[in-house]
């Protein structure tokens, strides 16, 4: 009996959420194995022992290269068939969930995505619905149990294990390589909404595309980024890449300044990872005000420029 961690990586770079999944795998009280495949697999395999992987199965064969949901999914099926784990899990990232769903579809097994807590035998769990705004208690009945863990639901801790690499020859049909990455376009590097130390956000109350200029100015002064609610992107005032929330970006700044945003649950799940939240709203009862650690009651069109002015004054 083993718990097998399906490791997603990008040409060898393993995301932090995978280390959370490896930590979670150790909670099942059975040996933890990991599975890697594709370009950069050897590099990815090298870091897994430190997080508790006793054996790392490296799936090799024809038609496996850069990330491909189907070819990689089929390669993971090969490892599952060769090693018969009782639990197979990954991180609830885009690629992690996609690979697990590919394995599930190919093996006709159930797959429970985005668990936040799982029983020791993997047969019952709490999972995230509505992007984490709602929880579901669920049961899983299957000989091989397929799961993913919602990112940030557990804290990753290191625990050294052998991390012995074992090659597994797998059969991937040429026809499955049809969804391979054909090209990569590198975007400009620098801070993003997800990594910004300060996010200055505006909601419907901002009123127009132009009216975001004062928010841009404040964000500029603080070395931060401008964010927004879905009401704003729906109106075409800001690009969707600025949207915070369930169907937007999850942010984790030192401080989130949310102005003219009511704080609907779908917005809140994107904002709740912030270390501090300052709400600026005319309504003292607004959900955002009630949930924030700090609030200012007032018109954002007056408050935001006043903050910028004060910041400039102190900077001298």
């Amino acid at each position: 009996m083993t718990a097998l961690v399906v490791v997603e990586h990008d040409r060898g770079a393993v995301p932090d959420a995978m280390f959370e999944a490896l930590t979670a795998a150790r909670g099942f009280g059975m040996p933890v194995h990991a599975a890697v495949t594709g370009d950069g697999a050897a590099e990815a395999a090298g870091v897994l022992g430190a997080w508790g992987a006793e054996v790392v199965h490296h799936a090799t064969g024809a038609n496996i290269g850069d990330y491909s949901p189907e070819a990689w999914g089929q390669a993971m099926v090969g490892v599952v068939e060769a090693t018969s784990p009782s639990i197979v899990l990954s991180a609830g990232t885009d690629r992690g969930n996609e690979l697990m769903a590919q394995v599930a579809a190919r093996m006709d097994l159930p797959f429970v995505a985005n668990c936040v807590e799982v029983s020791a035998d993997g047969s019952s769990m709490t999972r995230a619905q509505w992007g984490g705004a709602l929880h579901e208690s669920a049961t899983l009945t299957a000989d091989t149990k397929l799961l993913s863990f919602a990112p940030h639901s557990i804290e990753a801790t290191e625990q050294a294990a052998a991390g012995t690499v074992a090659e597994v020859a797998v059969d991937v049909d040429a026809g499955l390589a049809r969804t391979m990455i054909k090209d990569r376009v590198v975007l400009s590097e620098g801070i993003t909404l997800a990594t910004a130390p300060v996010v200055v956000s505006g909601g419907r109350a901002v009123g127009s595309e132009e009216a975001f200029a004062p928010l841009e100015e404040l964000a500029g002064e603080l070395g931060g980024k401008v964010g927004c609610s879905r009401a704003v992107t729906n109106n075409g005032w800001r690009p969707h890449s600025d949207q915070v929330g369930q169907t937007g970006t999850r942010i984790a700044p030192q401080i989130y300044i949310a102005s003219g945003i009511s704080g609907a649950t779908q917005h809140w799940v994107g904002a709740m990872g912030s270390k501090n939240i300052l709400a600026i709203n005319t309504d003292p009862e607004a959900n955002m005000v009630v949930k924030a650690g700090w609030a200012v009651i007032g018109d954002l069109h007056e408050v935001i420029p006043a903050i910028t002015e004060e910041v400039r004054k102190r900077k001298g």
Binding site: E98, P110, Q129, A138, D183, N234, T265, P284
Partner: protein, 257 residues
Amino acid sequence: MRILALVKRVPAPGARINITADEQYVDDKNLGHAISPHEECGVEAAVQLIEQHGGEATVMSMGADVSEEQLRAAVSVGMAKMVLVPTDGTPKDPQETAAALTAAIQQLEAEEGAFDLIIFGNESADQGGFQVGIRIAHALGRPMVNGIKGLDVDGASDGHILANREIDSGVEVYELPMPACVGVKEGINLPRYPTMKGRLASKKAELATVEAAGEAGGQAQVKLLSPPEVVNETVILGNGPDAAPAIVDLLEELGVM
């Protein structure tokens, strides 16, 4: 091109999601309903591709009869046909949903011909299983990529479609031979509002029904629960622009100046 978009009716909750007394459903008595946001963009993507390349777009939903409201909304923005796969409205697990929808798509294709492209949402807004589209694509033997933020037929080689997906460091471009499946994410486009003409067309459009069912899979919902509440003593820093010095004190304290 022949395109199929799959959409799901979901409640549109506000500041909090309330649960019914039997702990099985989101209490939607006083709520409006919507198409899941990713899928709303899937509908828009289908309409745009038909505008550019000709053909016909169909929208399909599996759910209670009230899902007709979301199907008509999709027709009002340009989908030509709508199909309901009726259920009793109880939540279905992902395997059951995928099996029923696969059977429904096969029936539709047997009657009207294959779809060149089937568009799903990246995940449903409520259950968020991240898998129904992938299961259906596999059952139909078609390629599938999830998380798509851009589609391009013109830039691809003949009979293929290009699909873009964002990762931390940039954009990956996939080329898929058609017939193909994709799961799209909000942000791929800005869904249009219905025109008066569209609204009228949606009132007149005929609702087709396809009966299809699947067997229950291995995942079962026991109950819904609210995640632990954030309890915060909100500190009011002041009213209006006069609060600026107090705010900047806070910014200094947090070391973000």
